[in-house]
Amino acid sequence: MNILVINAGSSSLKYQLYDMKTETAMATGRVERIGMDSSILTHEVAHQPEVREVSEILDHTTAIKKVLDMLTHRKFGVLRNISDIQAVGHRVVHGGESFSESVLVDHSVKLEIRRLFDLAPLHNPAHMMGITAVEDNLPSVPQAVVFDTAFHQTMPPISYLYAIPTVLYRKHKIRRYGFHGTSHDYVSQRAAEFLGKPLDQLKLITCHIGNGASCTAILHGKSYDTSMGMTPLEGLMMGTRSGDLDPAVVPYTINKEDLTLNEVSSMLNKHSGLIAVSGVSSDMREIVEAMNEGNEKAKLAFDMYAYRIRKYIGAYVAAMDGADAIIFTAGVGENSDVLRKAVCERLTFFGVRLDEERNAIRSSEPRRITTDDSEISVLVVPTNEELLIARDTFRLVKNKAGGR
């Protein structure tokens, strides 16, 4: 079965086509600048040069059409006919409390995603456009939606409630949802395989450290607590996001600087984190580079960033009364040995013994970076959210077909 995985943004769309027999990506690509007369489609097939096409793509429906044309292109394509796509899986950021697992798209699912626009005004409407666009182009192909929040729906109330008037939770569903669920889910499964132990007997702390960053305490295979909250702003310090701060800072700043709500929200989401403290960049590689050249502000930003990850790890060891392994994943987590070292070096109290040689090795496979006698294992596990979306879609479509 071939499954097309789609991650639709408001003016962009990423795709991967999976062959589920081998679980390999046959083609990947993206459409950028949707809505403009010079949209760019970039298409990549393994071992072949990248193809770029500039054309007018005014809406998501046209974007999907272009993607399908490219996938069946005589020269660059990988399929003979679009009917070779048997299912489509979509990434959806917010599933609210309605979705604790991936589902097949039907009328009521679409209504529910629409109802959740309020909670994710930047993301869910764009995902919806992606779903509609696929319907327009592939009317009879089943579609599944995989939610970033679903994995965290297992959190108990002590983790997900905020200590504010509960009427706000009842009326507006203000609570912790958590994000990057697909990634935390995927790497915890891979970690259990690597450790050779059943997932439901493990206490894991997964650190998804990319442009956005979150830590999750995974108790016996289920999300027990996670650092992101109602929105992806809470928790760790990130590239351009502040992470945790005293909520009183917000009205105080609004008052002192005469800011509007939009301005303060943009300040916290786009002008904070690494870029704000370092003044250099929001990119960890550039921070490390500047730090090595003696830039003190970059060093401060780096140290704060690492310190906050360490604090969350400490908190989650306490939350689960222990931990078997700590897992690093995503762009920074997988690639920055300097950051992993800074975090792990000072977790000796928990029995973490970093192996510097292992830590320095680059690889796309799951690996251990602690010594064999370390009480808690620290692993690096490359994430693959698209594959998990493809797997969920495959499972749902197969089950439905089998149930008939």
Binding site: G35, T260, S266, K270
Partner: protein
Amino acid sequence: MFRVVGVVGAGTMGQSIAEMLSVKGLDVHLVEKTPEKLQQAREMLELSLDRQLERWAITAAEKKLTLSRIHMEASLHDLAKCDLVIETISEELDSKKEVIRQLDDILASDAIVASNTSTLSLTELAGVSKYPGRVIGMHFVYPAFRIDVVEIIRGLQTSDETFGKTKSFIDHVLSKKGVMVYESPGYVTTRLICLLINEALHLLEEGVASPEDIDDAMSMGYSFEHGPLEMADRFGLDSVLAALERMFREYGELKYRPSFLLKKKVRAGQLGIKTGIGFFKYDKDGERLS
């Protein structure tokens, strides 16, 4: 739906509308008569975006993107590809008529021509066009990117199709509230706010309170962002005077007669923010000094 929008007139309002449209992701063609004025408009747009950058409202990348979507044009003929043209030149009947007449031969037949007039008769403006059905009023409130209400004015001959397209553009693309008003000098916003400003000027003339106290009383008492005198400074005292004079002429009622103080200020060239002094003083970024 409209994607390429022309804005005729790159004054304060034209800049503000162009910036707002570009932020919403539309391609904007901004027309002004002389290269100097175009250059000045470009600088002002950059200044406005820089100020937002300083206030963390946008990022450097967003600033670049917004500017890249605004194209400076020297002639109305550069608007041939626009689906919608918003005319926002100075509030003079004859010049506005001339622009609308010229657009007849330039735009495609299904394009819409909107005027940002606040006091002139839309029916009269539309009357000079060969296609009066496609002419409509779209009255933005300054600053257009922050104020989320637009008055949509139907002239006598404005077609239902033109109205429908305009309304859905304002509601869905601009995400603003479109308020439908029938033709009447000053509509809702200008008529009410100019009366408030004029009455504040009477208070000042009568020595009832100082400018600071008048503004504080109204801004704090009734949650206005700025008091009536600072509002006048921000609109431009010449614009306020012109609007009052037109309404005075049209309605013939004394309450619209502009205060003498307003006339005096305009004659002295103290027009508000744009000259650095009106009822209060301002720096070059438009921040109030005193």
